[in-house]
Amino acid sequence: MTVAQDTSVGSDRDLLSSGQAWLYDTIVSASHTQFVGVLAAIVVVLLALPLVLNSYLVQVLFTVFLFTGLAFGWNFMSGFTGYVDFGYAGFIGFGAYLTVISIVDFGFPWPLALLTAMGVTALVGTAISVPMLRLRGAYFAIAMLAAATAAQLLASSSYLRPITRGGSGISFFPELGLTGQYYLALTIVLILGYVTYRIANAPFGLRLLAIRDDETLAASLGVKTVREKILGMLLHTAVAGLLGGVLAFNLSYIDPNSVFNIQYTEFPIVMVLFGGLGTVLGPVIGGVIFVVLYEVLWSTFPQAYQFLFGAAIVAVVLFMPEGIVEYLKDNEYIPRWRSL
């Protein structure tokens, strides 16, 4: 964090190392067309990759997309408004079950099943969350964790066995193969990235961030805090429902332990913390670094990867408490734009 905010940007720049200044200046001087060009090049490469990569690497990239998407979804509510949801896996599991049941029992085509999961998870998830939005801080987080645990127990309970098949789960044949899942997840991530970019630059995004900084002050300045939180929650849960379905395709078998697994809560949270809460680049940077680091540690140190992974997370939280993107902005590696 810079202390020398009193000096003009010009004199600050002289103090910067050349690498820092280079990145900053490149971003500031780049035209809109250049940004779009770079983005398009990345997309073309990602589109071509399944043609040349083996299925293990396609699966790794699919996992990057899935978790980056989940990180975007978690960020909509928890990153922007600061209402930290510790029960995200509950919505993901709900979406996975809705998708599989509507395919297996109702014969829905897969796109319709995914849209159903997205819509129903958004409506039901938000309705359940509304009373909890009165709670703040740790109380909200714990209430959401409890709700997710309850959802998992319900899915495995004998009461719902006729629908969910209880603990024995449901196996099915996903019509969409791994390559199809790859392209689907990539498309979803691109859309979520664009939506996040638009929100971050819109008054709506500003209002969500104001709720994070001081909800009472925001209300005193005319922000409809309840309405904004509900809108944030709708986005947050819709993404979980949709990607829960995509996850089910990838697993081709679901049971309460697999799709309600707490890792689907933990990983997106850590990714967004890594990358930067309430930012556009945060979920992407966090998602890529997280999955790549995890894979590398797992394959290199099979005995100690969890310990090393935990240590890496602790280091980031200690040295960059607001995430990589905020760190880069504070130290003027990149401009303080909401678009980044």
Partner: protein
């Protein structure tokens, strides 16, 4: 007591927190376009009264009328929309947002927020810091942001809770200057302030509170002479 030009009417307002009566049967009215000081020792109930008027808290009994309409227990946001705004005793800004964003957030009721924000930033001489995070500003500058935020809402009645506390004389003059110019435009101010020199020289009218009740009310010259005020204000140190 409500006349045609009464903008705020507080009637028999009481607030209890369990056994404690923080505000006890308080009634007073405020004329449009005036600058009213609300004074009293710590714990007299001034901030609680602000909370009751603006909707942070609901009164146990009594009513609050703003511009002739009953707003008792209305939410903070609703009151802000109607033109009744406040600042907080503890200076509150949106710390991780820029100076400019801090003003634009209060834009939902304004037609041209960008130009209004620009105008206010120039008034408070922070236009060159508009892209700085609010947490990186000085305390006094944060106070200026708080006041500008509520002015973004183009309010009629502005309640300021100790806007001058801990502020240097230059900054104090700047804040008073802003208030005077708003008064000229017909806005109404209620000010909680401990600096008696400011209250006595700036306010048209002073309400004195002690232990949750209104002790007296009147123009500064009269209030200053009141024996009970002198005793309440300077005599004992009532912190509860």
């Amino acid at each position: 007591m409500a006349s045609a030009d009464t903008i705020l009417d507080v009637t028999d307002v009481t607030k209890r927190f369990g056994e404690l009566v923080a505000v006890d049967d308080v009634s007073f009215g405020i004329e449009r376009g005036t600058f009213v000081g609300l004074i009293g020792p710590n714990g007299a109930g001034k901030s609680t009264l602000f909370n009751l008027i603006t909707g942070v808290l609901s009164p146990t009994s009594g009513s609050v009328h703003f511009d002739g309409e009953d707003i008792t227990g209305n939410a903070l946001r609703k009151n802000a929309e109607r033109g009744l705004v406040r600042t907080f005793q503890q200076t509150r800004v949106l710390e991780r947002m820029t100076v400019r964003e801090n003003l634009l957030i209060a834009s939902q009721l304004t037609n041209s927020p960008e130009s209004r924000a620009q105008e206010l930033l120039e008034t408070i001489e922070l236009a060159d810091k508009q892209d700085t995070l609010a947490r990186d500003l000085s305390f006094g500058q944060q106070k200026l942001i708080s006041i500008s935020q509520v002015l973004m809402l183009e309010p009629e009645l502005i309640l300021l809770d100790e806007p001058l506390a801990g502020v240097n004389p230059t900054m104090e003059n700047k804040i008073l200057e802003i208030m005077r110019s708003q008064l000229e435009r017909g806005k109404t101010f209620v000010l909680v302030e401990h600096d008696m020199d400011v209250v006595m020289s700036e306010c048209d009218d002073v309400v004195v509170m002690e232990s949750g009740s209104v002790l007296t009310r009147g123009p500064p010259s009269t209030v200053q002479q009141n024996e009970r005020v002198l005793e309440a204000y300077f005599g004992s140190d009532d912190d509860e």
